[in-house]
Symmetry: C2
Subunit: 344 residues, 2 copies
């Protein structure tokens, strides 16, 4: 396996072996008080986003993870508690830890239950979600299940007709098997643009496209700093996107027992960046449905119809391509980022 | 109670007692081969949409129901078969009948299962859905459950980057209790505008707002006739709305065993207007979640926060207001529509 820095290029980019990058991030997490078990999960999640070309949820997030851990706002060593609330309902107390270890703790039993009964809800509360959402649903689809995940975050999206943000960027992710080990997957924020992408635009001094956000006075702006400093993001598709944001608040917070996005208050923890809210995952066993074992083949037929109609790419295709390339050639990491991580 | 025609006004509108309107529609359905049991369900559904001020899914639809029944494309006397596919999964064969009687046949057992296990999926196939979707979820929320419903329809929405329609208008409806017998509910097509509203615009000679649809050549148009004759609708919010359309095809067709929107072929049945596809309803018992019996109160807190942020109206509020008024004063029906229905 290629080691750290082995493939440094002329462009200041190092192509890191994926497992070496995971190991490096694990060391950073552990150095800041995360338990080994939780660090392994978070490191793979974050390195995976970078590998998949999703810069806004990759290594860019590490500084936020570290600042939040330092602030005492999140418990990196939290041990999630899975509660059996029904044959098709698992409740998980993330104990003020990260959402991904909480989901990992519930996943094996949840999959068993979905296969036994046809469906299973995983309702996670008191959880910090700072990663991409597709890693939360992909493994279920790879195991033959349909998965739908929703997370609320922090109040940055203005409801339809309102003057102040109430909703989070509230991502919705969906995954389903399509046969031959392949899956269909999407992961999308209800905001026109993901919050992380606005942060990246601010950092890089780029203007936002029109229609993305408003400033503190509620006036449309293309300045990412104005959106981040007292302004707010807009929901995609106007009131229809806002309805989905509302549904996600209800599913990820009211149902789970977590906080709504607008209730998150980290003012006593300067540096904190990870919202402590909730996550809801719904698993369904498609073999129970009317297509039975033919479900994946039916999904594949839909994918084919989309291709025939001229859709060049399925959601997730760009990530899958980046993943394949990175697993072959290494994950491109800037020397500056690498130095920062190694200095942590 | 006010009878038919009792409150005819100067504007050519008759204010009909709701139950009298239901009875009138029942007679129309039965006259065209619908069984009494199915007619009772469809009449209440259609009259309910008119009562709620949703013209596109109310009496306007009766001509389409009648034409479809006459064409032999749908079986108005179909007897749905509920199959117990797991402790939390009911499969329903609508037997080429309407979706609403199929849902009604499964609802009592599905609610029992959701209360027993925490969740229940209802997967309906071979079903014609020509009504609004909120009546499919409202009763579950009124009974204390969270409900999510999805229906695929007929290929009228262009996927992101494609040249031809593949998706249906694929409505998504969601409802949850918010305490005091009140509920939160939304019902929205993935198209920027509902197909029925485009038909109404065409009938009334009104132009569409920009961004709603394209003509047969894929060029943006505001002419409803161009959209209806070989053109197509656009998904709300670009690729994000299109992702939701895809999810709904997978849930309502691949999962249920029904047809995808693009597979509906009624060419052998001139006059047919109701797509024969599938419907998926997910029920969740919120009492199993982390808020327990406090769920509805938490939803109410969210509604209050939205109001405080300046959102004047919740989704569904306009319908609830119209409903209350119509139950008090009667459902306004034009004399022309009334004459047409009575002549059926």
């Amino acid at each position: 396996m290629a080691g750290v820095g082995e493939r440094g290029g002329d462009d200041g980019m190092t192509h890191m072996d994926f497992e070496a990058l995971v190991a490096l991030l694990e060391r950073v997490f552990v150095a800041h008080g995360v338990s080994r078990a939780n660090a392994a999960i978070l490191a793979r999640n974050c390195a995976g986003a970078e590998r998949d070309g999703a810069a806004s949820h990759g290594l860019f997030r590490m500084a936020g993870y570290v600042a939040t851990l330092r602030s005492g706002w999140v418990d990196g060593a939290a041990v999630p508690v899975v509660e059996d609330a029904g044959a098709s309902f698992l409740r998980v107390d993330a104990a003020n830890g990260f959402a991904q270890p909480a989901l990992a703790a519930a996943a094996p039993l949840a999959m068993e239950r979905a296969r036994e009964t046809g469906a299973c809800v995983i309702a996670i509360r008191r959880s910090h979600h700072f990663g991409a959402l597709w890693p939360d649903v992909e493994p279920f689809a790879e195991a033959g299940l349909v998965a739908l995940a929703m997370v609320d975050s922090m109040a940055v999206v203005v409801p339809e007709g309102a003057q102040r943000p109430v909703y989070g960027t509230n991502p919705l992710a969906f995954a389903a098997p399509r046969g031959d080990g392949k899956i269909v997957v999407f992961d999308q924020a209800v905001s026109v643009m993901a919050h992380g992408d606005v942060q990246i635009a601010a950092r890089e001094g780029r203007a936002l496209p029109p229609g993305v956000g408003v400033d503190a006075a509620g006036v449309a702006t293309t300045d990412p700093h104005a959106v981040l400093n007292g302004g707010a993001l807009l929901a995609f598709g106007g009131h229809k996107g806002a309805s989905i944001a509302m549904m996600i608040e209800i599913m990820a917070a009211a149902l789970t027992g977590g906080l709504f996005s607008h209730e998150v208050d980290w003012s006593a923890h300067p540096g904190a960046q990870t919202p402590c809210t909730g996550e809801c995952v719904i698993l369904i066993d498609p073999a129970r449905g009317g297509s039975g074992a033919g479900f994946a083949a039916r999904v594949e037929q839909l994918v084919e119809a989309l291709g025939e109609a001229g859709q060049a790419r399925m959601p997730g295709d760009r990530r899958f391509a980046a993943r394949e390339r990175a697993m072959r050639e290494g994950v491109p990491v800037s020397s500056e980022m690498l130095a920062g991580l190694e200095g942590n």
